[in-house]
């Protein structure tokens, strides 16, 4: 079963036409898919359509064989992690993660023990269990991102849709989060779809890459193949050089001089 099946998918905003322009594409069942491309190419939009948040103007979308229609509760199939959270009030980390368990509440308002366990477990997975009492808004960027992922994990879905997980994080946190995601994809049998900006990171951590350019598919294929000098040059319209240099990995000792592209 393919991970993604897009058939003639189009999307326009009211004041921006052609954000996605008749995309037809099939993505094989890979654990970790990255969506790359210049700003305004439609990456986040595509992710939101996959998550049932936006409704496609035309065309069809299927994730893991399931037709995505808006207004369904897809929260058992997909978990969506937004780019950032604008929370104007204080919320505890654990309460936030518990929101990932939609049936956590009894009629009386008490929280089910099963769900509390799952929530704490998800926090454990991302390594943030000690923060369960903290205010979400008072966490650092990296911790916040991990908590967002924890909530998605608590949903226990097959697919995770993540919008720019590491764009705003420092180097160390970037590596931690990416390693975490990689681990989730490989070991837990989940599928992850992430919108990313850094092609080097995508090449390193993801299995399949999809390049979008002005609403159309620029290139698509296994990461190690398609993320190469020619593709990046044409998609981003920039000059690209191949160099050998430092590539940071958080815990693994091996360093692959795998030819990062600048």
């Amino acid at each position: 079963m393919a991970l993604l099946e897009l058939q003639d998918l189009s999307f326009s905003y009211r004041n921006r036409p052609g954000v996605l322009d008749r995309i037809t594409l099939t993505v094989p069942p890979v654990p970790f898919l990255s969506i790359l491309g210049p700003n305004g190419a439609g990456k986040s939009t595509l992710l939101k359509i996959l998550g049932g948040i936006l409704e496609a103007t035309c065309g069809t979308v299927a994730v893991e064989g399931v037709r995505i229609e808006p207004h369904q509760d897809l929260s058992t199939l997909l978990a969506y992690v937004p780019q950032s959270l604008h929370l104007p009030m204080e919320m505890r980390v654990i309460d936030f993660v518990l929101l990932g368990r939609p049936h956590a509440m009894h009629l009386t308002g008490r929280v089910r023990a099963y769900d509390v366990e799952k929530a704490f477990g998800a926090l454990e997975q991302v390594g943030c269990r000690e923060f369960w009492k903290e205010n979400l808004t008072e966490l650092s960027g990296g911790e916040q991102q991990k908590v967002l992922i924890a909530k998605a994990l608590a949903q226990e879905t097959k697919v995770l849709l993540i919008d720019e997980p590491v764009t705003h994080l420092d180097l160390r946190n970037q590596m931690e989060v990416l390693t975490l995601l990689r681990g989730l994809a490989t070991e837990e049998g989940r599928k992850i779809v992430a919108v990313m900006h850094d092609v080097n990171q995508a090449r390193e951590f993801t299995d399949y890459a999809l390049f979008l350019r002005f609403g159309k598919v620029g290139a698509a294929g296994p990461s190690r193949e398609v993320i190469c000098r020619e593709t990046v040059q044409s998609v981003f319209e920039i000059g690209v050089e191949e160099r050998v240099g430092l590539f940071v990995r958080s815990s693994t000792k091996t360093m692959h001089p795998s030819g990062p592209l600048y």
């Binding site: 189009s10 326009s12 921006r16 036409p17 052609g18 305004g40 103007t57 035309c58």
Partner: protein, 403 residues
């Protein structure tokens, strides 16, 4: 995006619009509909009310639309008390106190009075000897008149009534919308409302004197003075004496002090006579003067109002004496359980009370002792209070025969 993309986008927009149905029109429809609705709403409500006019006999009984501002008064009064201001002179009746408030010293003249002067008639035998005179009004302002005033604008209903009572109604060239007694007054051109008379119209009428009471704004006074029009602001407060003093002052200003004395004595005699009669009656029913009730709040005449005084003279006991000012409470009313309730005429208030809880449980309501009265003669502090007192006495003691 470069130019290539812009063209792309435009083509795409057309393409998509035709593909998936245009959205522009429904948006525009929405805006028009919304605005049309709001406009309709506005027109309806304004239209309904231009027809309404000044609603007479509807809604609450006003404790004197000219001199008294019952609702705002107590709040201001308490504020002034808190500040320790000395306000012996009827601050309760002024909605906007204009200046330092002291006991008025009317009749502070620089020339001796000539008591033998005959009564005045406009244009003939005006007692020149009295003038020029200088008088202090209720706000301790100096009012100077060099000659007897021939053209007077009255900006308060009680002032109008006083002037007519003194027989000088002919001198009034302008009055407010509220001045409706006597009949002749209504034929005099109006200069507008109480708080905001049309200043231009006042000036147009070229008055020699403007008589005003509470509600008159400081700015208006200053404006009129700056164009050389003397303004006399007369207030009367808690002691009924002050009403007599007011009438005498107006008499003096008009140049007919003896007539004023006469008339005042006349008033006093009549009030006395009624008072003696009612005093003799041992049974004094407890009377509640209902200014408003229900959703509009429970307001009555407190112990320091002239209305309370009138009720006492009419041989009743004023239930509102437990408070000062005007604001009461429905529970207080239930506790006091008056023998009779006085409400304003018009609006069918007795019937409303019968249907509204908790008023319908009051003894006076159940026994049908709710009486509608004409409030003007009671509210307005002036000569008609005699009539008002007589009326009150008859209502409170129907068995009385009055002179």
């Amino acid at each position: 995006m470069d130019l290539r993309e812009n063209r792309h986008s435009r083509e795409k927009l057309d393409h998509y619009s035709s593909l998936c149905g245009g959205r522009g029109w429904s948006l525009r429809k929405g805006w028009y509909a919304g605005w049309a609705f709001l406009l309709l709403f506005l027109t309806l409500s304004t239209g309904l009310l231009f027809g309404g006019g000044k609603a007479e006999g509807e809604g609450k009984l006003e404790g004197g639309d000219e001199a008294q501002s019952p609702i705002l008064a107590p709040i201001i009064e308490r504020g002034q008390e808190a500040k320790g201001k000395n306000h012996r002179d009827s601050s309760e009746s002024s909605a906007i106190p204009i200046g330092p408030i002291e006991k008025s010293k009317p009749g502070e003249v620089q020339l001796p009075l000539h008591k033998e002067n005959p009564g005045v008639d406009r244009g003939s035998a005006l007692p020149q000897a009295l003038f020029p005179l200088e008088v202090r009004d209720s706000y301790n302002r100096r009012v100077r008149l060099s000659t007897p005033p021939r053209r007077v604008v009255s900006c308060a209903p009680n002032m109008t009534e006083i002037v007519f009572y003194l027989g000088e109604g002919k001198r009034i060239v302008g009055r407010t919308d509220w001045c409706n007694w006597p009949e002749e007054a209504q034929r005099i051109p109006s200069v507008g409302g109480l708080q905001d008379p049309n200043i231009e119209r006042i000036v147009q009428l070229k008055p020699d004197l403007v008589l005003a009471s509470s509600h008159f704004q400081k700015e208006t006074v200053e404006l009129l003075e700056s164009v050389g029009i003397p303004v006399y602001v007369g207030l009367a407060g808690r002691e009924y004496e002050e009403v007599y003093r007011l009438i005498r002052s107006v008499g003096l200003l008009l140049g007919i002090p003896e007539k004023a004395d006469e008339k005042v004595k006349d008033m006093q005699d009549q009030m006395e006579r009624i008072r003696k009669k009612t005093e003799a009656i041992p049974n004094k029913p407890r009377v509640y003067y209902m200014i408003s009730f229900g959703d509009e709040g429970d307001y009555t005449a407190g112990s320091d109002t002239h209305i309370a005084q009138l009720i006492r003279w009419a041989g009743g006991r004023n239930v509102g004496d437990v408070i000062r000012g005007w604001r009461f409470s429905v529970e207080g009313l239930v506790k006091e359980d008056p023998d009779m309730i006085l409400v304003r005429q018009g609006g069918g208030i007795p019937l409303q009370l019968k249907n509204l809880s908790p008023y319908k449980e009051l003894r006076a309501v159940r026994e049908g002792k709710v009486y509608e009265i004409d409030i003007d003669s009671i509210d307005r502090m002036g000569p008609r209070n005699v009539e008002g007192l007589r009326y009150l006495s008859k209502v409170i003691h129907p068995e009385l025969t009055l002179p």
